[in-house]
């Protein structure tokens, strides 16, 4: 569309601004103001003694950041978060790429494509908390998974899934993977369907195998979408909260090895500790920013 520089068009454009108002109102109220107050709060000592008696706010400068960084706990929880994200994301992206490639390949003549595209999205429709409750019950010491494993003779005593670091993390990763692979598949599928069919035909005429087509044509062209998927998933992964929170009863057990950064933040809400909570949020904000920039850089650089 070409822009006409007439007064009529200008007046017409005004409507564009009007329609943007709802977004900006929501953005300012729910994003900008909380962001600014969070940063502001992080410089104060402000909490409630035993939840009831207010202490502060007293200006303490960077004291909250010092306390947080000195204890070194943040690094541990960041590591936990990243491990669980990687454990969930790697299988997720592989499955999604595979499914999207299959769904988008007309030569496979898949039946019931629409049906399966809807079905793989279904886990995402269940609330994460309900999903976690379900897994909590399934994998409890006396739960059905344990009795199943015992009945087929794989184990002799119930295995405490949530008392071992690896199994607890694997459960969290498995759940996030299960919940999000449908979403990723749909995104990648949309990207793949946008690729010009003539490219594939040309490749086939030149005698390229389907693996070659996938790695030489599909993946490079898909890169912008892939980048988007990685970054959104990374940000989502850093904010991992609901699944481990409910699965481990808010404890991040065993030994806080499934404690994520947001769960740690939530711990400080027990005493309504706005100061430390604010500082932690700001740190998290920077970590997210830095990691996103790194991912973005890697992807754009290798494209050249």
């Amino acid at each position: 569309m070409k822009k006409k520089k007439t007064g009529n068009a200008l007046r017409h454009n005004r409507w564009g601004y009007f329609f943007l108002i709802p977004f900006f109102v929501v953005f300012v109220i729910f994003q900008l103001i909380p962001l600014v107050t969070t940063i502001y709060n992080s410089f104060f000592e402000h909490y409630f003694k035993n939840g009831l008696t207010e202490v502060g706010p007293n200006l303490v400068g960077l004291e909250n950041y010092k306390t947080l960084l000195a204890s070194g706990d943040i690094l541990i929880y960041l590591k936990n978060t990243m491990i669980m994200w990687v454990m969930g994301f790697v299988p997720q992206i592989i499955i999604s790429l595979l499914l999207a490639a299959w769904f988008s390949d007309p030569s496979l003549r898949l039946k019931g494509k629409k049906f399966f595209q809807s079905v793989i999205y279904l886990p995402n429709l269940i609330m994460a908390s309900a999903f976690s409750m379900l897994f909590f019950a399934l994998f409890a010491e006396t739960g059905p998974i344990n009795s199943l494993l015992m009945q087929i003779g794989l184990i002799s005593a119930p295995y405490k899934f949530l008392s071992h670091t690896m199994s607890a993390r694997a459960l969290v990763a498995f759940m996030t993977c299960l919940m999000w692979f449908g979403n990723t598949t749909i995104l990648l599928l949309a990207g793949m369907l946008g690729i010009d069919q003539s490219l594939y035909e040309a490749a086939e005429v030149d005698g390229a195998s389907s693996t070659q087509i996938f790695f030489r044509i599909t993946l490079p062209i898909l890169r912008p979408i892939l980048l988007y998927v990685v970054i959104t998933s990374l940000i989502g992964g850093l904010q991992l909260f609901d699944v481990p929170q409910i699965l481990t009863n808010g404890q991040g057990g065993p030994n806080r090895t499934t404690m994520t950064l947001i769960m740690y933040l939530n711990k400080h809400l027990y005493s309504k500790n706005y100061g430390i909570g604010g500082a932690l949020s700001v740190i998290l904000f920077f970590i997210t920013g830095v990691l996103s920039i790194i991912v973005f850089r890697i992807n754009t650089r290798s494209q050249k």
Binding site: P22, K49, N50, G51, L52, D73, H164, N255, H268
Partner: protein, 473 residues
Amino acid sequence: MKKKVISILMAGIIAASLAACGSGGSAAPTAEKTEKTEAAGGEAAEKAGGEGEGAVLNIQCWNDEFARRMRDHMPGYEAFDKDDATKGGKLGDVEVRFAVTPSTDNAYQNNLDALLPANADAAADEKVDMFLVEADYALKYVNTPVALPIADLGITEDELANQYKYTKDIVTDADGNLKGLSWQGCPGVLIYNRDIAKEVLGSDDPEEVQKAVADWDTFKKTADQLKEKGYKITSTTNDSYRVFSNNVSSPWVVDGKINVDDNIKAWVDMSKEMVDKGQTGTADLWSEDWSKGFAKDADVFCYFGPAWLINFSMGAVDDGVNEDDGSRTFAGGWAATVGPQGFYWGGTWICAAAGTDNPTAVAEIMRQMTTNEEVLTDIVKMDNDFVNNKPAMEAAATDDSFAFKPLGGQNPLGMFCEGAEKIDLSNISEYDQGCNESFQLAMKEYFEGNASYDDALQAFFKAVVEKYPELSY
């Protein structure tokens, strides 16, 4: 044109959803089904609402226990729904509403912390008039102005003469003001499985069994004996926790520093030993793995608990109304004995919220539910609860008609009476709830072999400081 219509529609939807957020939450919960229930019940009901007082009495609680007690025993109270007591009811012309917030993850206290300080400014029908508290955190509310002194409601010391002293000590603030009342007493006993006792100890007679659990050393020996036959002595390590934590010689917090008493350490040592030998589990209290031991054919020898554990947690009681839920409680297969040490566990106190607009009705409920001997005796008979009234309990202790069905016809009230007199609360602190919870969770890692004792202890300190930034270790 079509696009324009759609975009206007979208904008409309966004605006509507915003507006909906703003107006949410003001809808009245208990519906308008206030069909005029006849102002039944004599005197009590008529004087329930004082002159110019609120039409709605809001009660904050974490389960349906008090609502059920009100439904079953409060004179002049008409419950709206006989099956679900928390739906509220009518007391004279005052509507009683219950707001239930589960105590898991501190949700109940967070809710109170948000409501109570602003209570005076709340709308008349939304004001909290009464709230319930547990022993572990009672001091937190008692030591702040959010709870009204009982004396302000016109209830005098003389009216409370029959109550156990410890139930008053817990809710007395630093200046000596009594700020809450309870209808129950919670001295605990050891509740054991009769069948297992017969098989392993040769007798299910409480006096004989007591010899096998008289102190912690014999308790451990009995655990070995039980293990040989494939039984666990307790369901989880946390079962015996209260017995140790009530017999400490110093509180959790001394001069702002977190302090772990020797007796708590003794619990850790005993529990670790038992877990390693497979004599007990590590599940959390209230979990399914924990309550599995209530079943008829379970392998758990005993639980530590007060009267409410039997009637409220251990399964349905065979009262001719309840259905058989397969629990040992229904079959009457338990018995009680004193156990290694005396202790108490829990108990619910009723507090009046500062800013209430129904002081007369609140006082009336408090009087009826905690001092009316007839009401209290009724609670013992119907619910097998241990109530907060010395003469009533002492009379009931010697009366065979008060035998507990879940205990196979044993009358344990004498044991409870003795226990209630001995409860010592000199070492409670307002941080007990958070400390007890965090300590049990941290030690679970040690018991399961995921951490050394020192690591677990550090984790405990960390968790407590997160909850209470004002403390140090």
